[in-house]
């Protein structure tokens, strides 16, 4: 099950500068494990103590996975997974 994963600038040292990479898995955790097997060190940046890092947001098709099962959120073939650092809202 191929998923397109978009990588934020700060993590592209792990992907040789690539903005987006392919990965397999039927849950967010599986996708991250697969990513880590291809791009060593990525998992450590994203997951801490078995949960997503506090300042990392992961979206499957634009929806924040924390509200749909977290690392166990399901992922389907052709989905897009976006990783972003947490930022303050814009024009507040």
């Amino acid at each position: 099950m191929a998923v397109n994963v978009s990588i934020p600038t700060i993590l592209r040292t792990h992907t040789g500068g690539q903005k987006s990479v392919e990965a397999d898995g039927s849950t967010v955790a599986e996708v991250i494990n697969d990513l880590d097997s291809r791009h060593t060190g990525l998992k450590d940046r994203l997951v801490k103590d078995g949960a997503l890092h506090r300042f990392v947001n992961v979206y499957v098709n634009d929806e924040d996975v924390r509200f749909v099962g977290g690392l166990e959120a399901s992922v389907s073939d052709g989905d897009s997974l976006t990783i972003l650092p947490a930022v303050a809202g814009g024009m507040r």
Partner: protein
């Protein structure tokens, strides 16, 4: 009532209007809460006035004081209006990549602007403001990201207005910035009408805004309470612009760009309700009107061109 003693008294009690043409079906309906009908034209008048009043009550804000706030727009404009009427000074820290209109309005109200680097976005503005607060201990930083009066304003105002105007509300959708609107309205609706879905729409910016962000120095507003939210969507500038234009074209509502992102999330939950065969009454919040964004090119040309121009700007 249409007569008020002063501009400040016109705060709140904003209209809730149906969207007959954009609603997904006759039993999955969208309702727009028009927060641009506030004294300075945005939802931020609610938290800004509430924070000032709370600080006055506590005695930290007294005549002649200078208020300091990291803000790239609407909160600054609200504070600037209230500060000028109440006799306070105002210093706003804002990222340099915010629209020219906002700078001009702030200056017209007499506020001082300190620019923070575009690369850091609002995170950087918060950092610069905290440094300024240390260097100027007599200035009063209201700090919208962590001030409980922000969420409280929505708990006491926006939430009750929505429930009173639409007792069968099923969803509330708003933008996620300081998180005050969603946390305040969400807490109220969860208490008064358990089962109401609280949905966040978060702007997704161009790479410049995230570029230098170190993952260990991320920023989550102190007010944020994930337990209040049921879903959270990240909406890019293309979808935000597309919906902003649809809202204008189909319903006549000239809203700011962040409202387009909120409408996008509202339509997403609406379409899911239709697919599930469930009725829904979805309220979404129109944070402001489009006037302040005209110079961004959001309302003319092709969507692709407009989205490209927005890349790297803070549009919500």
């Amino acid at each position: 009532m249409a007569r008020y003693d002063s501009l400040l008294d016109t705060l709140g009690d904003t209209p809730l209007v149906g969207l007959p043409r954009l609603s997904p079906s006759s039993d999955v309906r969208l309702w727009a809460k028009l927060e641009d009908r506030n004294p300075t034209g945005s939802v931020k008048d609610r938290p800004a006035l509430a924070m000032i009043e709370a600080a006055e009550k506590e005695g930290t804000l007294t005549q002649g004081c200078t208020i300091l706030e990291p803000t790239s727009g609407n909160t600054g404009i609200s504070l600037a209006m209230a500060a000028s009427l109440k006799g306070y000074g105002l210093v706003c820290v804002m990222p340099e990549n915010t629209s020219e209109e906002r700078r001009q309005i702030l200056q017209a109200y007499g506020a001082r602007i300190v620019s923070s680097p575009a690369e850091g976005g609002s995170n950087q503005a918060v950092t610069v403001a905290k440094q300024l607060a240390e260097q100027n201990p007599d200035w009063v930083m209201l700090y919208q990201y962590g001030n409980s009066a922000n969420a409280e304003a929505h708990y006491r105002g926006t939430g009750p207005e929505i429930l009173s105007d639409l007792p069968n509300v099923t969803h509330f959708v708003a933008g996620l910035g300081t998180t005050g609107t969603l946390v305040g309205v969400g807490r109220y609706l969860h208490e008064q009408k358990p089962g109401t879905q609280i949905v966040a729409s978060e702007p997704r910016y161009g790479e410049l805004v995230y570029g230098l962000r170190n993952l260990d120095e991320g920023f989550v507003p102190e007010l944020y309470d994930a337990d209040v939210l049921n879903r959270r969507f990240s909406v890019g500038s293309y979808d935000a612009l597309r919906r902003t234009r649809q809202l204008l074209e189909y319903e006549g509502i000239f809203a700011g760009i962040s409202t387009g992102a909120v409408l996008h999330a509202a339509l997403t939950v609406g379409e899911r309700a239709v697919a599930a065969g469930e009725p829904a009454e979805i309220v979404f919040l129109v944070a402001d009107a489009g006037w302040k964004y005209l110079s961004t090119g959001a309302y003319g040309g092709t969507l692709d061109e407009a989205a490209q121009q927005l890349d790297g700007q803070l549009w919500a």
